[in-house]
Every structure is written in C-alpha cells, then in structure tokens.
C-alpha cells in the first residue's frame, strides 16, 4: 500500500493507503463541525471534505475556534 506523508498543522503524519479529508478528520478524532480545513493554502469547504482525496506531500491546516478578544 502506498505511503501517504502529510503535514498537518506543521507536524508530519505518515500513514498508509488513500485518505479523503473527511477520513483524515475521522482518523484524528476531530469533530468535523468544529473545524475548517486548508489544503496547500486553499480553503476546502466542508461540503467537499468527503470527495477531496489527499496526495503524498500535501500540507493541511485544521483550525477551530478558541477564546479570543
């Protein structure tokens, strides 16, 4: 199975096999409703998370809301 190496929030994650964004969020235990995802600097709307397949070397930012002023 192909190795998939991703940068997620600045950290390298290695896994085997294909993943969509929705699957990755599931693997990471992230509540999809609480986050927004950028793939290689471009926002991916949540409606496309299930269709967007990740490729080796992709860079993701997964952000949520935190306390702020």
């Amino acid at each position: 199975m192909a190795e998939l190496q991703l940068s997620v929030n600045g950290e390298t994650h290695s896994m085997s096999g294909e993943r969509t964004i929705a699957q990755l969020l599931g693997d990471l235990g992230v509540t999809a409703k609480h986050v927004a995802v950028e793939l290689n600097g471009e926002l991916v709307p949540r409606t496309q998370h299930a269709d967007q397949t990740l490729t080796n070397g992709d860079c993701l930012e997964i952000v949520t809301l935190v306390g702020g002023g």
């Binding site: 929030n9 600045g10 409703k33 986050v35 809301l65 306390g67």
Partner: protein, 280 residues
C-alpha cells in the same frame, strides 16, 4: 420623559446586517476555565462574543473545545483575525472563521473583527495592511468591523474602504489604560457620523474598569468591546455585572445630554434670600 436604569430599554446596536440587543461585546479569551467564561458572558448581558481562529490541538489532554462550552444558539459569534500581521493572513483567517461559523449555522458567519497588527510588543494596528485587508474582505462579501487606532484619518479611510464599523482602540490591547485620548475618539465620531449619524463606532481595546466603559459611552460611541478587563479581574463575574451596568449608565448619560463643562462654579442653591454676608 425620565427613565430609570431598570426600565431603560435601549435601541439595538446595528452593525451591517446585525442587530444586537446589548451594546457591550465581550471576548472569550484569557479565562481560567470555560465554566467561568460561560458564567461571565452571561453576567455581562452581551449577545455578541468574539472568538479567535487557531490550529486544532490534535492531541489535547482535556479534549474540550471552546464550542462545547458556549451555547452558540444564544450568541452571535464575531470571529477575529487576531495574531495576523499581514492583510493576506488576515483574509485567510477570516475565510476560515467564516467556514467554521457557516457549519455551525451561526449568524456571525458573514462578519469579521479585522485585526492586522504591526508588532507583538505594542499590538498596535498596522493601518496600511488594515485598509488593504478591509478592501479585500468587503469585496469577498464580508461585513468588516475594523480594529484600529484612535487616528481619525485612518478611521475615515477604513469607512471609505467599506468597513461596517470602525472600532478605535481606547489604549493598547489588554493594557487596561482606558480611553487615553477622548478628543481623538470625539473627532473619529465627527468624521464617521457626518451625514451618517447611525454609522456604528465601537471602542475596542484598552478598557480596564467600568468607568472606562461609561466614559466611552458618554462620548457618544455606539458600543464597547472588551475582554481582559473582565477575564483577568480578581472577580470576573462581578466585574461582568459592573461592565453591564456601566454601559447602560454611560449610554443613558449620553442620551440625557450632559451639562457643558465650565471653568467657574454655578451655585445649586438660590442666590435670592441669602441671610449671610457675602464676600465681594
């Protein structure tokens, strides 16, 4: 017509398409616990709260998210772009915030508190980048509430760039110094409300105590946004109450028409019928 504090029902604070029943907007940062935050938000009477956008902590010891602690059906969330130092990053963060709020079906999805800072020590806003980001976000359909300095010229530039509200700082973020230059805030109000009296101007940042909130409202601003003054007070819950009352007191004082300041005294008791000998 006279109004008591308890009876006073203010007109809503209108910003873009939003209508807020409280003119106090409070932040959600710096609280010791989520429980304390939730209680303080409630005691403040605010119906709009600010939030920040940050990387999801993928390995979290507590596993709790801010969104588990806030009743998002009760508050309009106002996402900020805090921590951004360029227009490009601010636009990026604003879009990410919009994406999260859309998913939550929160009415705050279409607006943003734009903050583009110049350096980490002063946290003063970068006016050039702020104007640039405002133009881009307005073009992208956002209602933009601009955090800025109290410079009236920059304030006017931001309004002209399409800002839904201009939010001059009273003093640096989290400094608790209050309104350092009320004259500049007055000129901001003159500039921004000229021929457009309903244009919303909100003092954002610098509040330390309830008197600062009352003082800001007495200048004629439409609202006050604060965070640290409640979150870091020794008793955040009673400070939240103090802020709520100060806002209403300051607002009523403004609406009631204060007396002009004079150099000399004017007696409150009648001159007529005085039996004492008066000095010349």
């Amino acid at each position: 017509m006279s109004t008591t504090l308890d009876q006073f029902v203010d007109t809503p604070l209108k910003v873009g398409s939003h209508s807020l029943s409280s003119r106090l907007i409070v932040g959600t940062g710096k609280y010791a616990t989520y429980e304390l935050m939730a209680d303080a938000l409630e005691r403040s009477g605010a119906d709009c709260i600010t939030v920040a956008v940050r990387r999801e902590r993928l390995i979290d010891s507590e596993g709790r998210n801010l969104l588990d602690a806030i009743d998002t059906s009760r508050y309009t969330l106002l996402p900020n772009t805090a921590g951004c130092f360029t227009a490009e990053d601010a636009v990026r963060v604003a879009r990410l915030g919009r994406e999260i709020l859309s998913g939550l079906e929160n009415p705050g999805a279409n607006w943003v508190k734009l903050e583009v800072l110049s350096d980490t020590r002063t946290l003063l806003p970068d006016p050039v980048e702020t104007v640039k980001a405002t133009e881009q976000l307005v073009a992208d359909g956002f209602e933009v509430l601009c955090y800025t300095s109290d410079d009236p010229v920059v304030a006017r530039r931001l309004k002209n760039a399409g800002a839904a509200s201009v939010m001059p700082a009273g003093s640096p973020i989290g400094s608790g110094q209050g309104i350092l230059n009320p004259n500049n805030i007055r000129i901001c109000l003159e500039y921004l409300k000229e021929g457009d009296p309903d244009y919303p101007v909100i003092v954002d940042a610098g509040v330390g105590a309830a008197s600062d909130v009352a003082g800001a409202m007495e200048l004629g601003v439409d609202g006050v946004l604060l965070n640290t003054a409640i979150a870091h007070a020794a008793d955040p819950l009673s400070m939240a109450e103090a802020m709520r009352h100060a806002l209403v007191a300051g607002r009523l004082s403004y609406l009631s028409g204060r007396i002009p300041k004079r150099l000399y005294a004017t007696a409150s008791s009648p001159e007529e019928g005085v039996i004492s000998i008066r000095p010349r």
